[in-house]
């Protein structure tokens, strides 16, 4: 194949030429503009504040610390949105598949409306039009005096570990291991003999009673720090910044519409004959769903669902438009402007997103492989 070799050689040469062209320009421009190069800046103090710091970010912390904070913020909002959108999407899909046509119609209306409006606009809507006009802390909206919502964000009770907490958690973990051992042995017994073992009940009993038992023995492991109004402000508890609340709601609602469609499509792909076959075998409705319909539907749902999670992760970069301190805003924004080293900063940002996407895709692939039909 001399032609193929020639084509590929030319292509590689052209590509190499292009890269050399870019590199020469880059080197020339760096020399001309007198730019600093290298990752030394990561060790310098960052000197700006971040509105949400899941890990310690003291004054004088380095740029690398700021990068980590921003990265964790990105992961945080992505994970929360993925979980919430899956739950919400599942509920909407159930409504969409409901035998009540009015409910199904309403769910369809929800899906179509959400899917056809840009996410950025929806984020603006939640942040500026819904959370913006909220009252000041004094007039907070509250649920049972435990959760407070106001202009400054969402205040929720925080668990505080008591001295007995380490004892509690070790013993509970021990009990859980015992429960799992019993459960697997019960299952092995059932697979082998076809009969249910009493171990199953022992496992369930241990599983359910262990935490309660440990609380009685070791004392309350956790107390709750509830936010309460103190003058003009709320004190105690944890305050989630409004940007996070807006992002979480906006991304979850947006994602839920797509996920609902995926789930609906997955269930629609399982032919009705499967359900009928189950009925003919005398299986109960719940058995038909858990053993026949859902496993087959999941096979169709999981691959695009993983894609949807990646999309959600990438969409989290819109956070910078409403000021949520994620990778884009803090690192590719503030840090880039302060250091004047766009090359290094952008490379780190993009590599982080790429890595996060690859990890998500990898997890999706693993789950998908376990889910797929094992063919003979």
């Amino acid at each position: 194949m001399p032609r193929a070799v020639a084509v590929q050689t030319i292509l590689l040469l052209a590509l190499a030429g292009f890269v050399v062209f870019l590199a020469t320009n880059l080197v020339g421009n760096i020399a001309r503009l007198n730019l600093h190069v290298g990752f030394n800046f990561l060790a310098r103090p960052a000197g700006f504040e971040i509105a949400q710091t899941p890990i310690a970010y003291p004054e004088g912390a380095t740029y690398f610390r700021a990068f980590l904070v921003a990265l964790i913020n990105t992961i945080l909002i992505a994970v929360v949105s993925i979980l919430l959108s899956t739950v919400l999407g599942f509920i909407v899909a159930l409504a969409r598949l409901s035998t009540n046509p009015l409910l199904a119609l309403l769910a369809q209306f929800y899906i179509e409306t959400i899917r056809n409006v840009p996410l950025l606009l929806q984020l603006f809507f939640w942040y500026f039009a819904v959370l913006g006009p909220l009252p000041l802390p004094r007039q907070s909206l509250t649920a049972f005096g435990l959760v407070f919502l106001n202009k400054r964000g969402l205040s929720v009770p925080t668990p505080v570990a008591e001295p007995s907490f380490p004892v509690f958690i070790t013993c509970t973990a021990l009990f859980l291991t015992v429960a799992i051992v019993f459960f697997t042995s019960a299952r092995r017994y059932r697979v082998k003999t076809g009969q249910t073992s009493r171990n199953r009940w022992v496992a369930g009993f241990v599983f359910l009673c262990a935490p309660g038992l440990m609380t009685i023995v070791a004392g309350t492991p956790v107390t709750w720090d509830v936010p309460r109004l103190n003058g003009f402000n709320l004190s105690g508890g944890t305050t989630i910044i409004p940007e996070f609340v807006a992002m979480a709601i906006g991304m979850s609602v947006y994602g839920s519409a797509f996920i609902a469609e995926l789930i609906r499509g997955g269930f629609a792909s399982v032919s009705h004959g499967q359900t009928e076959a189950g009925l003919a075998l005398g299986l109960s409705r719940s058995k038909i769903y858990s053993k026949i319909v859902i496993p087959q539907a999941l096979r169709t749902i999981v691959p695009p669902l993983a894609g949807q999670y990646i999309t959600l992760l990438k969409n989290s970069s819109l956070a910078s438009a409403i000021g949520y301190p994620d990778l884009m805003l803090i690192f590719a924004g503030t840090a880039l402007n302060q250091t004047g080293q766009p090359l290094e900063v952008m490379a780190m940002t993009m590599a982080s997103y790429l890595l996060l996407c690859l990890i998500t895709a990898g997890i999706g692939n693993v789950i998908n492989r376990r889910m797929q039909l094992v063919e003979r």
Partner: protein
């Protein structure tokens, strides 16, 4: 007459369903009339200034009306608006002609449309030649800018995506692996990041003295990103074409490229059409992020006009603006998605009978 009755009967088919129906009806009764009050009956439609909307807790359509020119054209000079209209009208006529059965050679016609029309539109909108006054792209804005970015991205991502899809299926390992690498990397990056790259890093990679304006850089980022997305959709289409089609074309004496161009690609594009329309919908929606690069697109103009001190008279202005923006996007994207469903039905074996 039977369908509504069947619908109603299903609504009360079981006690649970009847209860759900009742709850939904109650909810609709408490939300729908107030919504129409807000959007239509109590809304302000006429007036001269923001004072007419103050203290009215309902939609302020006056705000949209007074800014309508800006929403449509951004900062484009008022005397030159005819150019945008002409451009839009030409595009529309071309599209209708293309989709009518009169045009036989669709491939040729669509190629002409994707090559000739952008050049024509570029000259007309940018000006500076043939006695047209030049209009800097910084002055472009509003719905016009949104449509320019969206249409350009769709038109450029299609051929580029097709090329990538073909390269990915190539038997030459270098070509295939380069295409796979490109597609996978692009799909793993957020578009906002690419936009930042195009804005911040682009000047570092071109020879000194070369200035590329911000809109062109944005368009490049959009094209590069969406070509990878489009490539995957088209690849699905190519894979759906049975191998026998290619073999039949070869056995008729066509060369490899003739067989691809005359038999495989047309069928692949047709099969991929619903997916292509879906990608177009997401392109349409993601154009909004150009406001993060400081451009005043449709959403950017609305968002920008919200900080006008004249209109800081209450939450109703913001609500109206977002509702209006949502409605416009919904109308565009929903029609596209209906179109996609229509093609899918038409292409499916059941629909062809």
């Amino acid at each position: 007459m039977t369908r509504p009755i069947a619908f109603l009967r299903k609504c009360i088919s079981s006690p649970l369903n009847a209860l759900i129906t009742l709850v939904i009806l109650f909810w609709l009764l408490t939300t729908v009339p107030p919504f129409f009050d807000w959007a239509v009956f109590k809304a302000v439609w006429n007036g001269q200034s923001s004072r007419d909307c103050a203290n009215v807790d309902a939609a302020c359509w006056l705000f949209i009306r007074l800014r309508f020119q800006q929403i449509l054209y951004g900062g484009y000079p008022a005397t030159e608006h005819w150019r945008i209209m002409l451009c839009g009208a030409t595009g529309l006529v071309a599209l209708i002609t293309l989709s009518s059965p009169v045009v036989r050679n669709k491939v040729f016609a669509s190629l002409a449309l994707t090559i000739v029309f952008p050049v024509f539109a570029g000259i007309l909108l940018r000006g500076g030649v043939f006695g047209l006054a030049p209009v800097a792209t910084a002055q472009w804005g509003g719905l016009m800018l949104t449509l320019v970015v969206a249409l350009w991205t769709i038109a450029s991502a299609l051929p580029f995506g097709l090329g990538l899809a073909l390269a990915r299926r190539s038997k030459m390992p270098v070509v295939a692996n380069l295409a796979i690498f490109y597609i996978d990397v692009m799909r793993g990056l957020p578009l906002v990041g690419l936009l930042f790259l195009a804005i911040v890093l682009f000047p570092l990679f071109v020879p000194p003295g070369v200035e590329v304006n911000a809109l062109v850089r944005t368009l490049i980022a959009f094209s590069l990103f969406n070509a990878a997305i489009m490539a995957e959709v088209i690849r699905g289409g190519i894979q759906s074409v049975p191998k026998g089609q290619y073999e039949a074309a070869i056995s008729l004496g066509l060369s490899h490229w003739q067989a691809m161009a005359l038999s495989v690609i047309p069928q692949a594009i047709r099969a991929a059409l619903p997916g292509i329309v879906n990608v177009s919908i997401s392109i349409m929606k993601e154009t909004t992020i150009i406001l993060m690069a400081g451009m005043f697109d449709f959403l950017g103009v609305l968002q920008g006009s919200l900080i006008d001190p004249d209109w800081l008279i209450g939450d109703q202005i913001r609500q109206t603006a977002y509702f209006f923006a949502g409605l416009v996007f919904f109308v565009i994207c929903f029609s596209l998605s209906r179109y996609s469903v229509y093609i899918e039905r038409k292409l499916s074996p059941q629909g062809n009978k």
